[in-house]
């Protein structure tokens, strides 16, 4: 039968009035869903912020804020992985107790012990959520300060990756007038990707593009653009494909609902959370599926040579301002306990390649970048029966932070001795284009 006749027959079979109401109800239902999702995208997820690049307010403008804000955290159970599961009965066997704690935030939004506002820090800690993780007494900066007696300022942020704190550091007048002697920049293994670091390098170049001569990228705060600008790149199909579902209320609701259905019907946890297939140090442990994926990244995606070049270029910039850089490479929990990753979550016949941290350490050391690779130390700790990560969280625990702080404290001695008597930074220092370190 001719297809158009079949369709006509199908069209004409139901009563017209009913078909009309049926379609109208469907369209209205869809519009309600659509409208709600877009409203929440702007209202709740602030999607507009991804489209606009707003320059950070200079530190001086934040002087009206209180110097420090204190939060009292009640005792709790569970970490980010158990939060992701979100079903109380499912998380009991994994959740660790978290004692009540105090968080003190400085006026710039970083967790720091109280300090004198005009006091120059000896060490500034930059990095991702690992470097910011913990309470006011247990996070990396505090533990490092306790071990060295130095003024260690935390400038790491959770949830912003390793680069945003660097941009904010560069844009902050305080660190140009009173530069620290050492920067400790720590980031997790999952951040090590040639594309990410190349983007970081380009951003640094972009930020400094206005300065003459053209060969020098000026990174002083004055050179930053002062007005909001549209991020046209954010409208590129590839980015919209991620950003639209990421900021969709329907997607979040679907995820929440699906997690419950999976658990109730099949007894399965959230697909993002993987239970170790054997006890690690005598207990259950959770892994994050995305982190397992990152362990399988091919060499081309990791691009350790490119990453090393970008880090060396940033080190050169720091040195030009009289600051020593120490890089801390933090292995994923999934890397340290890789033997406990269930075979079923890996692609068929896929083997986990050796950690990129080994190659990157070698390359950084070849470029004389002061590097601390935590992987061998965490492996040794695990063999000695010491937990260095929370079992219910993607982050390290107090002991893991302590090991990192011990190792960095050892490295600090030399740069600080070298810095004695060194004059403060030149004002117009910047990332140099065309240097041997340029990626």
């Amino acid at each position: 039968m001719d297809h158009s006749f079949r369709l006509v027959e199908l069209e004409e079979s139901p009563p017209k009035r009913a078909a009309q109401w049926y379609a109208i109800c469907f369209v209205l239902g869809f519009l309600a869903m659509l409208g709600w999702d877009w409203y929440m995208r702007f209202d709740r997820y602030e999607w507009q912020n991804r489209l606009l690049d707003r320059p950070r307010r200079p530190a001086a403008e934040r002087l009206d804020r209180p110097l420090f804000t204190t939060n009292h955290l009640a005792a709790s159970r569970g970490g980010d992985l158990t939060d992701l599961i979100g079903i109380q009965s499912a998380i009991d066997r994994f959740a660790e107790e978290r004692p009540a704690a105090i968080q003190i935030w400085d006026r710039h939004g970083f967790m720091n012990r109280p300090f004198e506002p005009d006091q120059a820090p000896d060490v500034v800690v930059l990095g991702d959520s690992f470097m910011a993780y913990g309470t006011i007494d247990t996070h990396f900066s505090s533990q490092l300060a306790d071990r060295t007696g130095l003024f260690v300022l935390n400038h790491a942020l959770a949830g912003h990756g390793p680069f945003i704190p660097v941009y904010r550091f560069l844009a902050d007048e305080r660190f140009w007038s009173q530069p620290p002697q050492v920067i400790v920049w720590g980031f997790a293994e999952r951040e090590i990707s040639g594309i990410y670091f190349q983007r970081f390098y380009r951003e640094l170049q972009w930020r400094g593009r206005r300065r003459e001569p053209e060969e020098t990228a000026d990174l002083t705060p004055a050179a930053l653009p002062q007005r909001s600008r549209m991020r046209w790149n954010a409208l590129k199909p590839q980015l919209l494909k991620d950003s639209l579902p990421d900021t969709s209320y329907i997607a979040q609701t679907g995820q929440w609902l699906w997690n419950r259905i999976r658990f109730l019907a099949f007894g399965q946890l959230n697909p993002w959370v993987v239970v170790a297939d054997r006890d690690v140090l005598g207990t259950d442990m959770l892994f994050f599926e995305y982190h397992i994926e990152t362990l399988l990244w091919p060499e081309s995606e990791r691009d350790a040579p490119r990453v090393a070049e970008v880090i060396a270029a940033f080190r050169d910039h720091c040195l030009s301002r009289g600051i020593e850089l120490i890089v801390v490479l933090i292995p994923e929990k999934e890397q340290v306990y890789r033997d406990a990753i269930p075979r079923a979550v890996l692609p068929p016949s896929a083997d986990i390649p050796p950690s990129v941290l080994w190659e990157l350490t070698e390359r950084l050391e070849a470029k004389s970048v002061n590097t601390v690779n935590l992987l061998p130390h965490f492996q040794a700790a695990t063999e000695a029966g010491i937990w260095v990560y929370h079992r219910d969280d993607t982050h390290w625990n107090e002991k893991g932070i302590g090991i990192a702080a011990d190792l960095v404290a050892e490295r600090l001695t030399a740069p600080l001795a070298m810095q004695q008597g060194r004059a403060s930074s030149p004002a117009s220092a910047g990332l140099r284009r065309g240097t041997p370190s340029e990626p």
Binding site: S13, K16, W38
Partner: protein, 468 residues
Amino acid sequence: MLFNSYEFLFVFLPIVLLGYYVLVPKRARLGFITLMSYLFYGWWDWRFCSLMLISTVIDYQSGKRIHASSDPRVRKRWLLLSIVSNVSLLGFFKYFDLTADTANQLLAWFGVGAEPLIPLLNVVLPVGISFYTFQSMSYSLDIYMGAAKPARSPVQFACYVALFPQLIAGPIVRYRDLADQLVYRTHTWAKCSLGIQFFVAGLAKKVILADGAAFLVGDAFEVAAPGLFSAWIGTLAYTMQIYFDFSGYSDMAVGLGLMLGFRLPQNFNSPYKALSITDFWRRWHITLSSWLRDYLYIPLGGNRLGATRTYVNLLITMLLGGLWHGAHWNFVIWGGFHGALLAIERMWGKRGLLTRAPQLIQQSATFLLVMVGWVFFRAESLGQAGAVFRGMLGFNGVDAVIHERMATDPLPYILLGISLVGAFCFRNTWEIRWRPNLIWFVTLGSLFVLSVFVILVNTASPFLYFQF
């Protein structure tokens, strides 16, 4: 842009419908759809829009000249230009690397040159090029054969080539079937309701059944030596995946077409209920089968030149049909396999063993043969296809992975079971007599919400036929 993506469902489609029905004047609607179709296509890579434009311009001009001229030589020349330009586009973007690689291997085999003589260009395949070049070419062919009149305006023809509901993966629409609709079409609530039904049904088929079954395919095709259960279940899963994936896409295309007032052709008619391979090809990818029949098999002589020539024609048609699916020898073997089966069926006629068997046996045997064919189609190399066949015959041993997976993640197996029941026991989308009542509203509404949740919970997966 994928139909099963957030940006299509929640951005592109609302803009198109709003623009089409509310913002754009009636006379500009066709131009608006064309523009949006180019945007839809350019979402992958805007540079590929130029290829579609080239094909459109050449075929529009060819059609016009063929119709205007009464000189057979001039008419033939313009037809040749149309065919050569489309085949060249397709040939370069789809088959250059295969040809170069094969030629290099042959030359090396004969000991000519130590290094490959023809460099591989690693040409990126523009999505849907096989569909729109075939569609565009059919326009000139139809005008040449007197089966259609040329388009009244370039916009009409551009809209026909680029029409986004069927641009990427068909159905392959002939110009003569759409010509009147490009000039005049009705927009009724009944059409819109039916369009919604088709679209939702197609979306659910794709994201729930096809993508659900897809989880099991890797067990057979992504391991070196799949065991007995893995090989069979993986192949069965792929058999269901490709059907629900492609028929889901076709349903969505028909649904979207109806929402815009177009009636697109049926592309699937419960193919796994076929009683023979000949019957299968009347039900599977109907628009491609009829395209190949009308523009290849019949011009080759069809069944008019004796029995032997009929078998040869069938084989040639199916070999080229296989090659159309992709630049890989596996597709050619798949086409040859089906061509041989069609020839055998034609040879045996009504004397064949199966034709006298009960219907269930005929259906099962046909399904089994189709499944075997899909192994060639899905495998990335002949070696891999061989490994799957060895697994299916038990030479790789009996594996336990299926039991483990069933225990830890039973959902894909449940979905595979539903797919099998759906493919064999239920009416297809074109056979369902829907009623616009509360039960249907709740059913389809829930299916839509569930599909959207699945899309957003997982990442949108591409349609299998996009690669062809």
